[in-house]
């Protein structure tokens, strides 16, 4: 079963996929999905932008994967790619995963030694993502 988690601000901040050999495919998938994310964000009216739901839901289904998106208020995009055959993950689970991811991402950003824009190399973040992947998938 293949899954990937990516955090992206137009350039990748963090990419993690299981298993690792199909990574190129995930890169392409996630990169392309950014267009959909942008479309979704821009679809929301300016006035509503503040109360916007961060979770974007299923971005688009491909033959093999489901791509879910999430955008922080600072337009950092979280993307989770799940195998379509994985039926155990419902919308709510994905949503809570995103929330968890967002929290730990915020922790990373709070690190005064983190230089915004650099790839994330936090061990704590890594372990959280790992446990999330193990639990979820």
């Amino acid at each position: 079963m293949q899954t990937a988690i990516m955090i992206v601000a137009n350039y990748p901040l963090y990419i993690r996929s299981v298993p690792t050999q199909g990574e190129l495919k995930f890169h392409y998938t996630v990169h392309t999905s950014l267009d959909v994310v942008e479309e979704k964000i821009s679809g929301v009216g300016k006035a509503l932008a503040d109360q916007r739901e961060l979770y974007l839901g299923l971005l688009y289904p491909t033959e093999d994967y489901k791509v879910y998106g999430y955008v922080t208020n600072s337009k950092v995009k979280f993307v989770i790619v799940v195998d379509s055959s994985n039926t155990s993950l419902r919308d709510n689970e994905i949503r809570s995963m995103f929330r968890k991811l967002h929290n730990s991402f915020t922790d990373v950003m709070c690190n005064p030694f983190y230089n915004p824009g650099d790839p994330i190399q936090s061990k704590a973040f890594d372990s959280i993502v790992s446990t999330m992947m193990v639990q979820a998938f």
Binding site: N10, Y11, P12, E23, Y28, T32, L34, D35, E38
Partner: protein, 1391 residues
Amino acid sequence: MAQCVQSVQEFIQDSFVPMVAVLCSEDAERVTRKNSLSFPELLRPFCRLTSEGHLRDPNNQVVVVKGLRISVTGINTRPPQTPEMHKLLSQAVSVCQPPEGSPANVITAGDYDLNISATTPWFETYRENFLQSMPASEHEFLNHYLACMLVVSSHEAVPTEQFLKLSQEQHRIQHSGEFTHPKWFNPNTLKYYVLLHDISEGDEQRAESVYEDMKQRYGTQGCYLLKINSRSGSTGADEQMPDPWSQYLHKTSIHSPVNVPLVFADGVSETHPLQLDQPTDAGYPSNNVSQSVNNVDVTRPEKQASVTSHTTPTPRGTCLTLNDHDHIRQFIQEFTFRGLLPHIEKNIRQLNDQLVSRKGLSRSLFSATKKLFGGGKVPEKSIAELKNTAGLLYPSEAPELQIRKMADLCFLVQHYELAYNCYHTAKKDFLSDQAMLYAAGALEMAAVAAFLQSGAPRPYPAHYMDTAIQTYRDVCKNMLLAERCCILSAEILKSQTKYSDAATLLIKMTTEDSDLRSALLLEQAAHCFINMRSPMVRKFAFHMILAGHRFSKAGQKRHALRCYCQALQVYKGKDWTLAEDHINFTIGRQSFTLRQPENAVAAFRHILINDSKQSAVQQAAFLREYLYVYKSMSQLTSDSSLPQLPLPCLHSSQTRVFFGHERRLAEGEKQAATHVSLDQEFDRDLSQLWRELEEQVVAVANRGTVPITFQPSQCCLNSQTDNLRYPLAVVEEPIIVEMVFRNLLKVPLALSALSLLWKFTPKDFSGPQVVCAPFFFYLARLKLLPHKTGELHVLGVVYNLGTGEVDNSEGSLAGDLMCVRGQQNLEIQGPRLNMTKEEKTSVKYGPDHRLDPIITPPMPLLEVFFINFPTGLLCGEIRKAWVEFVNVSAVPLTGLRVASTHPEFFTFGSATSDLTPVTPTAAEHCSAYKTVAMPPSVATVSLVSPAAFGVTSSDRPIVAEIPLSQGVLGPGEALQIPLWLRGPDREGVHEINFLFYYESTEKTAKLSHRVLRHTAFICASRSLSVKATASRSNTLHGRERESEERQEGEDKNGSMLVFVDVENINTSEAGVREFHIVQVSSSSRQWRLHKCINPVGDKDSKLASRERGKLCFKATRCRAEEATSEKYTFADLNLGNEQIVSSTTPCADFFFRSGLPSEPRRGGVSTGGASQMRRQSGTDEGVTNIVKKCSEVELDIIVLWKAYVVEDNKQLILEGQLHVALQTIGKEACSLSQKEEAQEMVLLKFKPDVPPPVSKPSLEQLSHLIKTCLHYPESYDHPFPQKSLCMVPVTLMLSNCSLAQVDVIVDLRHKTTSPESLEVHGSFSWLGQTQYKLQLQAQEVYRLSLKACFFQAGVYNLGTPRVFAKLAQTSAMCETSQQSAMPALIIINSV
């Protein structure tokens, strides 16, 4: 979707045009052949009508036909079979490449600036060819022949007969049923009779007459006389003739697809016109492209001959003049307006009448009966299993098809409204019959017609199209139709800016069966994404990649490459490294197969130079590929200049340059000077230290001044040194350039045959073969040996790059294959400038001339070797070593000097001492000292001036000159001189720097001097700790007088006791057995050791580990003449039988060099103090001085020792000396100065120190003014029973230690207040005057006779008198109590 040349309307109109067949007689064909054209080809450029046509619809409304085009083809033209069609399309696409300077439009989306070709001509070509090669289908009539031209030459014997024959032929083809292929619109096809007249050959009269005949027979509207070939072909072709065929005929093979030789008659060469090795030059689409010309044979229509490819361009239309062109144009116009349009109009009317009559029955009834009776016109429909298939066929005269026919006719003549209505009706009928193919066709055309209606009365029914596509694809399995429908629909959607729908449609059409189609459609989809109102750049890129992939699968390498390149623009530099690498890799491969090795190399290079996230295996693959491509490229280009290699990363700024030979470090027991080597790290502090040393030595060499042009010698240049000047290098001395390579890959790289690139001097270089390990820095050192003077510029490095994998099976062969030669330039940027404002605000870099040395004429080169140079010493140990100077150059050297950071560490001996030319080996076991055999006795005294030891005034001799014979060391000469070393006073590892300075005998302008550095490390271990105290002797002068009468005069208060405390603090068990104090010497200008008090005798004092001993000496003042001189008095007191002459080399050398002579130092202090005190009253100054002087002593003690060391079962005797400086009486001085420890922690102060108040002499100092001493008998017998009162005379001696008058008050009655002293003293009393007031002159001794009175026997302390003193001239001061004398006990015995 990319922009097209045509508008959508034009495109659709051109896609569906009336079809006209041509049937030619043989003669007529021959006539046209003169122009290398068939008749249809001849007409083709003129098939578009320029004027408007008119016709009336069934309702008598005039319909205007604008820009109609007709399609004229040979009657036997067949649509190609599927495989051929694929080949044709593929060829068409590959031929059509983007022109070089195509207008690129830049699209800015977000932070992306994309450079995308605005048009996709290949797609348009594909589309056109695809649509034109659609096979005629049963369910639609758009590409069925509407008319047929029968062409007969006027040359023919009886043209009318020929016309008849052709007419019959046509009839046969259409109606006999033999031929399935050419499909005809309706049974009564329009026949148009054309008489072709060759002007150059035929008889015009005859032609006219035949034409007249024809007019009568077929009517004026049914025939035409076409005159062509106004000139004979052979006559010189007019170069200026336009060639309207060119743009049409390069597509010849597609327009007349029958050309594809199905039958290769008479063994024509099998060179297939579709071979992909066609010239692919897009710029010249016409002439070079091989063409096959259709040779239509009327009589044998099945058989075609193929004129195979010929490379020479065939001039076309050579027999035609412009007039002829006009004739043809006129002919087409005539045909269309007089023949075709009326024919169509008639047909529409006819069909309409039929339909109207049939509609007489009510529609509902009509459909009801149809349902009831199963519909006789749908014969196959009754079969149930066919219900959902497309296999349903209507007979050609079925009414539904009549509607469809009418619709198609209306469509062809641009009457779209009627066409739409008809299509719509037909669609309903077909749908209700479940005739899916027909329905889909009707839906498709209904949608198109709806779109084309001007004024747009109804919106474009996109869902019609969707249904049609779905039906075509899923139900009918007809991909061609589905594709056509898709292309049309996408084009229409695009024109309505519904890009997203168009993209979806296009993407849906991509299937596995046709790569070319999928690629083209994906590309168009990508263009749709980028053209959206908010461009979807990433989707664009992704689909471009998909398209590129499909292109490459379809063999369209150029298109694939182009797609990838466009996609790369999106991925480039955005950290999507995996994707970027993938794209770059593909680009590299494609470029390589397309023989664009430069691009391939660039693409691969890009993968490799970045910090890649690929796995090692992947990287190795990339590297191999890169090397392979690179190698093949370098084989192609035989340029002499080598290309730049990207790997491994060369850190230019870390390049180091070293001038000079690599030093031999050790040669037997000789140890060479370390100098500078590339292995040393650069240390800023250290280099500053060397610089200072050099400055000092240069100053000494130039008699005290440093010349303005002075620049420190730099042997090793790196990024931190000052590289503003051009460095100087000497001829015939190598220059070593060290480069830092870094391998960023995870796979090893092999570099071999490295060599430097330089300008100017042609000579020797060498480089080792190295393997650059992954992720590691590698240093490569290359040597350059200049042979001429001049300027040298090192430009770069040339090397072979290969994979570092050691392939055991194939050995070196594989390595050779995977090895390329290239260069990298060394471009060094200087440090960033930050001085002026301009430099601060902008980014500017200074020059860096590290690699541009100037080669100077030969200079002397010195090598220095040390012999017997120790690495470890005991503190204070003296060792003799030898130093050898060798001039290894061909030029004599002079002015040899040495400067050191630790001048006290070594000495070359004083100038006065005789340089015993003993060889080092001989002197090995001798003592370093000069000794004289003498039993221990009173000190021997000698006077020495410090100047003799090179010590002048207060400065420490940092620079020492080394004497050379005649001042010059000739080429190849060597000089050995002894060198004495003394272990540093502090334990630990000491770094001692020597800087040898020398000059050339002839003064060259560029290089004034050279230096050689040496750094020695000495490990000092603890030996002895010597502490000394001086105390004033309390001996009575009286008693002294008895023994040393003669010294009485000058020795007023002139002796003191020196206690020397010696402790063995050597803790190391490493062999040091014991220390022997062999001699104690003194050095002072005023004092000297006089006599040894303890130990007595000729045994030296022995100290084993952790033992301690105390020596006691008596010191006396020097004689007056000695004291006044500047010379130092050395007094030696030997404890053994040998006396070491301390006043010679090396003992005195080290004494002076150690900086111990206390006078200068103390002088400095006192002058500092004096300057402060000058502000005070003169009296104060005097007081302090006087007071100080009286407790001051200036005596340096030199303790000479021997240590017995066992090393390797051999006993060694080490010698050494320790210095102690005594300054104050009573204060302990130590051989280890404690100064530095005190300085370690200095509080950081923000306010300047308040100058300490000028100290009045402290009480402690004042209490030393007067020395007191009681003289009395130790025991006194007195018969108390007889006499109760015992009187004892006591003398109190007061001696003034100071040099001033002192007022003294002696108080005998004084009782200490402390209670215990009362108890101890018991009771006795002084008799007589009990308080005295005296005045003592300078250094005066005064005796005071007192009387003590005792009442009983016992022990009494007489030391009760209190002495108060004050300096006579200071009235303000009160008297200070003087140090009390020691308890003076007297025993009174009762007798």
